[in-house]
Symmetry: C2
Subunit: 198 residues, 2 copies
């Protein structure tokens, strides 16, 4: 088989993988860890269980890969939204977009995975590693888009605190629609950050 003949098959395989990853995040966000299995995700994605297990041999493989994949997609989208960072955009818009990372299905899915990992041995080390990786990448994006100068004392911690607040706002949005309160808090903290970052 030539390279040209193989390509469509690879594309199909990649598309199947992607459908599974997206279905896995949606499933985790809606039904939590207990309700999320490879079989449920395969059905949701319209993929045979055998094909799903070919791509992801274990439940842990599927769901950690899914959260990582969607987090990367969200990171790329966020960078694309502000191609020039703080130079081109208002800081408040950047802060709003950073907070938005924590209020959608991705955060909900990640939260279910984090919480399950706190008492499931097979999940613990993998999710800890994933959390650290996603956390580092989000911090880097925040620093870039906010135009924060981390060589100044306190700036690194200022940005970290913002992302901690965003995570807390995500949690506050889990059971009820917290949008109205969140917008007021973000507006106020955006002012505080603007002063602090200079």
């Amino acid at each position: 088989m030539t390279t040209a003949e193989r390509l469509p098959k690879q594309d199909r395989s990649r598309a199947t993988r992607q459908r599974l990853l997206e279905a896995a995040v949606a499933c985790l966000a809606e039904h939590g860890w207990a309700g999320s299995t490879v079989a449920v995700v395969a059905e949701r994605a319209g993929v045979s269980r055998g094909a799903a297990q070919h791509h992801f041999p274990t439940r842990e493989d599927l769901f950690t890969a899914a959260v990582e994949y969607v987090a990367e997609e969200r990171s790329l989208a966020l960078r694309a939204l502000f191609p020039e960072g703080a130079q081109g955009a208002e800081r408040r818009a950047v802060i709003g977009a950073l907070v938005d990372l924590y209020t959608g299905p991705l955060f909900r899915a990640a939260l279910h995975l984090w919480v399950a990992a706190s008492h499931e041995e097979q999940l613990g080390p993998r999710v800890t590693e994933l959390e650290a990786k996603v956390g580092r990448e989000t911090h880097r994006i925040a620093v870039d888009l906010l135009g924060a100068d981390e060589s100044q004392p306190g700036v690194r911690e200022t940005v970290q605190g913002l992302l901690d607040m965003a995570r807390g706002l995500g949690l506050a949005n889990l059971l009820t629609d917290d949008t109205a309160r969140r917008e007021r808090v973000v507006a106020q903290w955006a002012d505080l950050l603007d002063d602090a970052l200079g």
Copy 2:
């Protein structure tokens, strides 16, 4: 039976209830919602299953009552720690103590309950109500102890954002010991908040 004769029995009953509530929070923090049943808690508390079910007919009764009870105990302890509020204590110490509310077994237990409530119908409305109640009480304590004047524009949202940040810091402490990083973030934001609160 006279009142005097009944009292010791009431005391015993109250002590049993309290043991069950404390065991329920510890169980939830360690094993999560899926691993937390009335039977497991009764055994941990050294109470018969029948006695446990007399106090708490359902699993939902036991665990929501437990998180509410421990949250109230923590609130009382926090107020006792700073009897004169911000007049008598450094704001930084108050902020540190508020953040500490979110890094122990109580927060871990509450987190498991919140996350389970997001996809379990019997739990949803009760935990939503409990979260609102505990949130209001924590906000009131924060305002009092920080000596924050909520009649000033932005002050209410500044305090709310601090508690959101504290919640996010609690989440960051779930899988790893985040103490060193957290202390740096809290020190930096204590300075920023001190300026903001005047």
